[in-house]
């Protein structure tokens, strides 16, 4: 608040000095948070030009190797193709589903909208295992069905190809596009559209001249987000991608840092490339969203907006949309569940005699790593989500209500992790803590730090938008009624923000639980978490156990969502 700011300088003022304490503490926490999110990017850069750990002589060896090494060059090209393809697919699916479900008379539009965002709850690993089960050239269900129909061995679809990778990533990213775009479509101001119609615009002209141009910032923001996410995606390139020998930057970073001979310098250089691309994208994404401010339409309640009649295409389009929506959530979950009950996984194994519960018994009770890693995962997810929400409340208060002197700068810094792929963030965090003797390296705390660093930007967006919704007068009224700042925060702000805080907690919990890329470089055998265990089993190639294991991850993530979801609000608009 301004009163606190004005107090600095001049005479020491007893009453204000007290207020200054609040301010000082908030500023300090904000400054620490800003350092927390910005040092990994700097260290990645430093590490990529150091021969050994940071502090050793500088060199351009690694940057040169980025282009000199043929494997690295290949990865660059692959990453570019993969990013372009999956971004395009995600945009087409996300925007298409958003438009269909909000602006047309498609039957079951609401259900379609729900199905479109459902995949956010499904760990990407389920998507991977599910699509392997569906589209493996040998044992994939689709190919088995095709062979049976054709009477000879037919490979209709092959997941172990670039297009297979793009397909999975596109499906995985489409819900994020949907979320960013659908709200805009729904909240159109009907009077603007009516004005266009009255001025003589046909429906198509309305779409071309009013509706889509108004969504341009949201579309651009969605595009940049999926570019960052796909370029830095780890899970799909390092599972199916490595199996298909399609090398990409994130999977190479992993290999260069953890397999013999380790070349952490090259890994840092490759990370640096991703960080630079990511930060540029995020910079433009923020700008697009900010400029979107002038497109923000208040008062749009979605009533009376033009619904585009699809005519004869109504049912065909609905079927197609439903199919796509199913491809990214229910279909993989179903095929993974099927796989989980099979004694082994091969084309000729699809028989009733091969059904078994053995995989469940083995994974849940006999596999030694499961329960320790589940404990670690749950502890980290609960602690991480709680810390994220807490920190986000403090930071949002600092940015929005206190408007401290550095608020603008720190607020800007807090989006940095959005532009840094998990694996690169891991490289950055590792580069620092490996140098600190007796530090948190090798403990659970370094994982916690990584989780909080990576997920704080989204938490701030969530909490910030909830705080923005609370009218200043509600707090002022409480102060005048005799409650102090902290009392007001506790009695007025926290209860009013509760649904958003719960929503934020649940989302962070789910995401932390499934996170692999972030911690793949930071864990050690004593701090292994469930999601990393998946990579181990993937390596062993025993799919039915993998299926059980990934279902366990899905269930652990879903339990709190099902329990507390009804108290939560999930939109951070």
């Amino acid at each position: 608040m301004s009163m606190a700011r004005r107090a600095r300088g001049g005479v020491l003022r007893p009453a204000r000095a007290l207020l200054d304490w609040d301010y000082a503490i908030f500023t300090m926490i904000a400054a620490v948070a800003a350092i927390m999110v910005s040092y990994p990017a700097v260290l990645v850069l430093l590490r990529s030009i150091s021969t050994e750990d940071i502090g050793s002589p500088l060199t351009f060896e690694w940057l040169r190797a980025l282009v000199d090494s043929s494997r690295s060059r290949e990865a660059l090209v692959n990453t570019a193709i993969y990013t372009a393809g999956s971004s395009a697919l995600a945009m087409a699916l996300g925007v298409g589903l958003a438009f269909l479900s909000t602006r047309t008379d498609v039957p079951g539009g609401r259900l379609l909208g729900l199905l479109a965002i459902l995949p956010i709850l499904v760990p990407p690993f389920i998507l991977v295992v599910g699509w392997v089960a569906l589209a493996d050239p040998n044992a994939g269900l689709i190919n088995i069905a095709a062979s049976w129909l054709m009477g000879e061995r037919t490979v209709l679809v092959d997941i172990n190809t670039m297009s297979g990778l793009i397909w999975m990533t596109g499906l995985f990213l489409a819900p994020y596009v949907y979320l960013l775009v659908a709200a805009g479509f729904r909240n159109c101001d009907p009077s603007m559209e009516e004005a266009a119609r009255v001025s003589g615009a046909s429906r198509l002209r309305l779409l071309r001249t009013v509706i889509l141009p108004l969504q341009r910032p949201a579309l651009l923001a969605a595009l940049l987000l999926v570019v960052v996410m796909s370029a830095g995606d780890f899970i799909i390139p390092s599972t199916v991608g490595l199996k298909a020998r399609i090398y990409m930057l994130p999977s190479l970073i992993w290999q260069n840092s953890s397999t013999f001979p380790a070349r952490p310098g090259l890994a840092a250089a490759q990370s640096m490339l991703l960080v630079v691309i990511g930060l540029i994208c995020i910079f433009f994404q923020r700008r697009a969203l900010q400029r979107g401010g002038r497109y923000t339409l208040l008062g749009g309640k979605g009533v009376g907006i033009t619904a585009f009649p699809l005519g004869r295409m109504r049912y065909p389009l609905a079927t197609l949309a439903l199919l796509f929506a199913l491809c990214s959530s229910l279909l993989p979950v179903l095929s993974v569940s099927m796989m989980a009950f099979m004694r082994f996984w091969a084309p000729y194994a699809m028989t009733l005699e091969n059904l078994t519960l053995r995989n469940f018994r083995y994974v849940l009770f006999e596999y030694p790593k499961v329960w320790p890693s589940a404990q670690n995962s749950l502890l980290l997810a609960v602690l991480g989500a709680t810390l994220c929400v807490l920190l986000a409340v403090i930071l949002a208060w600092y940015f929005i209500r206190m408007r401290g002197r550095f608020a603008g700068l720190i607020e800007y810094a807090m989006v940095i992790p959005l532009g840094i792929p998990g694996i690169a963030l891991g490289v950055g965090i590792l580069s620092l803590w490996i140098l600190v003797p007796g530090g948190i390296y090798g403990t659970l705390w370094i994982l916690l730090l990584a989780y909080v660093t990576a997920h704080i930007p989204v938490a701030i967006q969530f909490v910030g938008s909830a705080l923005h919704r609370i009218h200043n007068d509600l707090e002022d009224a409480s102060r005048i009624c005799g409650r102090s700042l902290l009392g007001t925060l506790r009695r007025i702000n926290l209860p009013l923000m509760r649904p958003a805080l719960i929503g934020c907690w649940l989302l962070t919990y789910v995401v932390i639980l499934r996170e692999i890329s972030l911690v793949i470089l930071l864990y050690n055998p004593s701090t292994i978490v469930l999601s990393v265990g998946l990579m181990d089993i993937w390596g062993s190639g025993f799919y039915p156990e993998l299926a059980v294991y990934s279902l366990l991850l899905l269930v652990l993530g879903l339990v709190p969502v099902l329990l507390f979801g009804r108290f939560a609000r999930f939109t951070a608009d």
Binding site: R13, A15, S478, R479, I480, G482, R483, L496
Partner: protein
């Protein structure tokens, strides 16, 4: 009806209604304080009275109110509530809002949606740590006082706008505050409800006088509610006076314009009399009174003419000034006539059915015994 101060505060606890005094308050915003929201503002708000700060948006009236509440820290000046100094820039004394024991009614009502009506009203009492049983009985009395008996269990969204405003008033009053601040409390209501709430508020204040500081841009609200009206402009006081003073004799062009007088006409002082000044204008000689006494004969001046104090007639006799009707607008109880008198457009309001065609020539003059406002600038 119940007297809230007795039921709410208890007989032992005397009314705490206090005077508020503001001295030399300044507040500037923007780089290098380029925007002066408040410029050396000094005013006494007497105990038990309603002082209305009136002015257009951006005149600084809300800044005064929020400074008194402690929601804004002024750059300089002193604020005293009762016997205690709540803010003094010179000594660095600053009481946060929660220490000032005030009540406030917001334009947005600022009722908390997660609390019931009773919890909203009881909030200031709960903040002092008062036992629940006592809070309950005081809240009951308050609900009764604002006419919402039996509605304590409801939530805010279940109430109408007027009812919400009453809850907001109840919450402001219940803690027996030293003064109650009103920040345009009626401007979110529709016209009819606004009128009813205005009369109700007046009734409540008549039963139990409390110190109120009322901010509005609506001159009708200011007239009905204020014991004293303060017209503000650009962070400074333009005129202070009773509603009658401000209405009949605005001090400046700005005040006259803001009080809804369309006719500001030029003239010159013709004679100085014990009961005012005689001024020569296009409408002939007019008897005027103002707030400035050092006028010289022949000096140029401006007179504000209320449209209701001017009349016209078809038969032109003697040397009465004449004018040409530009147009007449019927608006219900009265009719507005625009008349061109020797190149000056005059607006007059008549309650008779007399009509003249556009372009007709008529005689124009003051009604009998009219005294006009002689402006100081």
């Amino acid at each position: 009806m119940v007297d809230w101060q007795r039921t709410v505060a208890g007989d032992t606890d005397a009314s705490e209604t206090s005077s508020v005094s503001v001295t030399g308050l300044s507040k500037a915003y923007g780089p290098d304080g380029a925007l002066r929201a408040l410029d050396d503002f000094t005013l006494e708000f007497p105990a038990g009275q309603c002082t209305v700060l009136l002015g257009p948006s951006g005149c600084g009236k809300t800044t005064v109110l929020r400074s008194i509440a402690g929601l804004i820290t002024p750059d300089s000046g002193r604020i005293t509530i009762g016997a205690t100094t709540a803010f003094d820039a010179a000594s660095g004394k600053y009481d946060p809002p929660e220490k000032r024991r005030l009540g406030m009614v917001f334009q947005s009502y600022a009722l908390w949606p997660h609390l019931s009506v009773a919890e909203n009203i009881g909030y200031p009492l709960a903040a002092t740590g008062m036992p629940k049983a006592i809070i309950r009985s005081k809240v009951e009395a308050m609900l009764d006082w604002v006419g919402l008996s039996g509605m304590g269990g409801r939530f805010v969204h279940e109430l109408s706008g007027g009812q919400q405003q009453r809850v907001s008033l109840g919450r402001a009053v219940v803690g027996n505050p030293r003064a109650i601040l009103f920040d345009e409390p009626l401007s979110n209501l529709d016209a009819r409800l606004r009128e009813r709430m205005r009369i109700e508020l007046l009734g409540l204040r008549q039963r139990t006088p409390f110190t109120s500081i009322y901010v509005t841009h609506d001159q009708l609200e200011a007239m009905t509610l204020g014991d004293k009206i303060v017209v503000m402009r650009a962070g400074k006081i333009e005129q202070v006076g009773t509603p009658e003073d401000v209405y009949k004799r605005p001090r400046t062009r700005f005040a006259a314009d803001f009080m809804g007088i369309p006719n500001l006409i030029e003239g010159s002082i013709r004679a100085i009399q014990p009961d005012g000044f005689i001024v020569d204008t296009v409408l002939g000689t007019l008897l005027t009174r103002g707030w400035r006494d050092d006028w010289n004969i022949g000096e140029r001046c401006t007179v504000a003419l209320r449209p209701t104090l001017i009349t016209f007639s078809a038969d032109r006799q003697g040397e009465a000034p004449s004018g040409r009707v530009i147009r007449s607008v019927f608006q219900g109880t009265s009719t507005i006539h625009m008349i061109d008198v020797a190149g000056t457009a005059i607006t007059l309001e008549s309650f008779s059915d007399e009509r003249h065609a556009d372009g007709a020539t008529v005689a124009v003059g003051p009604i009998n015994g009219a005294v006009f406002a002689l402006l100081a600038d």
